[in-house]
């Protein structure tokens, strides 16, 4: 799919957009919102915004960061309007594919990410899930690169602590057993 085709609003571009970017947009939205239905809504609104607003995009090479920025804005907007929703912590699945320490640290990391303030969580998701550069994350969130660096550093510090706590709790349980 080319950005030029999108600018011309060719009907088939919606299909292409969905096939190429739908899954990743859903991933970004889900990791920010922790809700599958909301994440799907973000996919729909993001792709339609891109379809209608492609004319605003000046640099074709920046299409993916631009799309992630739209997705993040929709997700953050949805988060603000859903402020009464209570988030549930993840529980490791018994008999799942990811066992033992790996499962513990996966849950600890996911819970740790979910506990981050929303803007910091968005920065982490864009940087480590969507693989945007710090500069692109900064543009997506309308912050300076220094702010994003600081937020990512803080997030990593917190996640390291979450991991250490979960490892400690695991060791304690193992000793009891």
């Amino acid at each position: 799919m080319t950005v030029e085709a999108l600018r011309r609003r060719r009907p088939e571009t919606l299909d292409d957009l969905l096939a190429t970017y739908g899954k990743q947009i859903q991933g970004v939205a889900y990791l920010i919102l922790r809700d599958h239905a909301d994440a799907e809504d973000v996919v729909v609104e993001t792709l339609l915004t891109a379809f209608e607003r492609a004319g605003d995009l000046r640099d074709d090479a920046a299409f993916r960061p631009w799309l992630m920025r739209i997705a993040t804005n929709h997700a953050l907007g949805m988060r603000r309007s859903r402020s009464r929703v209570v988030r549930l912590h993840l529980v490791p699945e018994a008999g799942g594919h990811d066992h033992g320490a790996a499962s513990t640290d996966r849950v600890a990391l996911l819970d740790g990410v979910a506990d981050l303030p929303i803007q910091m969580r968005a920065a982490v998701v864009l940087r480590y899930y969507a693989d945007l550069s710090v500069e692109d994350v900064a543009k997506a969130l309308n912050k300076s690169p220094n702010t994003i660096k600081a937020q990512l550093q803080t997030a990593l510090n917190r996640l390291r602590i979450s991991l250490a706590d979960s490892v400690g709790a695991n060791a304690s349980e193992a000793n009891h057993a």
Binding site: D98, L110, A150
Partner: protein, 348 residues
């Protein structure tokens, strides 16, 4: 775990989690929603034309419907917003309009502080004025139509963008401010060709972030609130801050202890529901903000018992350690805060 390993594991975990969901959105759903969006837009334009006609009719009788609809009477010092010359010039008939969003929580004492309207082609507008007294919240709501982007900068240096046309009014942005803030300023910068309305409302009911004081006997150090904190209000609103550094803007205070001694934290009127301490140091680099960095060379423990946190376990050091205390607390009306607080602890 070294940062690179942590980052790699984080990537791996996030990708596994983010990619684990099936994508069930179909092109049919996209096309249906696209048709709905277009219909909503057409209906909104029709409604706006009708509303504009109503405003003209009411305006002729001396009323101003939009400015007074549903607002709560002022309970604080009367604000006196002053708009820049650009914002006062002749765009009294906005093509988009908003109802005050502060209606959702009238008991917070919302009052209208001002509005900015922009017609097509107007690139910049600024509104400033006095905030309600004693700390509180600033609520900025936005509606726009056309094709372009609004960049909004409000007091406390919060900047965000709104892509136009929004499918509906964009979500409101609410910002807490502290008791020593007296003025607000909202700047709107439009690119492309958009019409917009920005409402600025204020509440003089603050979320009080109480001082968090680390004590040992008669000695004490007030901890500074760092970056990444969040607040939640009893009626359901929550917000996180973002700032350019992880550390408070004011210098950290120091508490001195002998090895083995315990420092305590209590917060009058608040119930502490969570506490976690980390020790480390401040790192600095040219052209970069100062950061708190956790260190493996030291350990510190925070134990919450009742409503008192006991902080202990720091080893002796030639220099003071920086202690980060992540706190979560709630008051009787259901407001809460969560965030990191910092102080130096020197263990002799």
């Amino acid at each position: 775990m070294h940062d690179t390993r942590l980052e790699d594991r984080l990537r791996q975990v996030l990708r596994a989690e983010g990619d684990s969901l099936p994508l069930t959105v179909t092109v049919d759903r996209l096309e249906t929603r696209l048709r709905l969006r277009r219909a909503e837009r057409a209906n909104r334009r029709l409604a706006l034309v009708t509303a504009a006609a109503l405003v003209v009719a009411v305006g002729a009788g001396g009323g101003f419907l939009l400015a007074n609809r549903g607002t709560t009477p002022s309970v604080a010092a009367s604000p006196s917003p002053s708009a820049s010359a650009a914002a006062q010039s002749p765009w009294a008939s906005p093509t988009v309009s908003l109802a005050p969003v502060g209606d959702i929580a009238p008991y917070l004492g919302w009052q209208m502080l001002g509005r900015l309207n922009g017609p097509n082609g107007n690139p910049e507008a600024t509104l400033s004025g006095e905030l309600p007294q004693s700390g509180g919240h600033l609520l900025v709501s936005t509606a726009c139509e056309g094709t372009g982007t609004l960049t909004i900068t409000a007091t406390v240096d919060d900047t965000w963008t709104v892509d136009c046309p929004a499918t509906s009014a964009a979500p409101s942005r609410m910002m807490p401010y502290l008791a020593n803030a007296t003025k607000f300023e909202v700047r709107v910068s439009a690119s492309g060709s958009v019409a917009y309305q920005v409402l600025i409302e204020g509440s003089d009911v603050p979320l009080h972030i109480p001082p968090v004081v680390l004590r040992h006997g008669a000695d004490q150090a007030t901890m500074g609130w760092g970056c990444g904190g969040s607040i939640s209000l009893g009626w359901g609103y929550d917000a996180g801050d973002s700032c350019a550094t992880t550390l408070p803007s004011t210098p950290l205070e120091t508490l001195e202890l002998a090895a083995g001694e315990v420092a305590t934290v209590t917060i009058d009127g608040w119930t502490i529901t969570g506490a976690r301490a980390t020790c480390g140091r401040i790192t600095t680099a040219p052209d970069a903000p100062s950061l708190f960095e956790a260190m493996t060379e030291c350990t510190v423990t925070a134990v919450l018992k009742g409503s008192t946190i006991s902080v202990s376990g720091l080893p002796k050091g030639a220099n003071a350690w920086v202690v980060e205390l992540n706190l979560t607390a709630r008051n009787a009306v259901g407001d809460g805060f969560s965030g990191p607080f910092y102080a130096y602890l020197f263990v002799r």
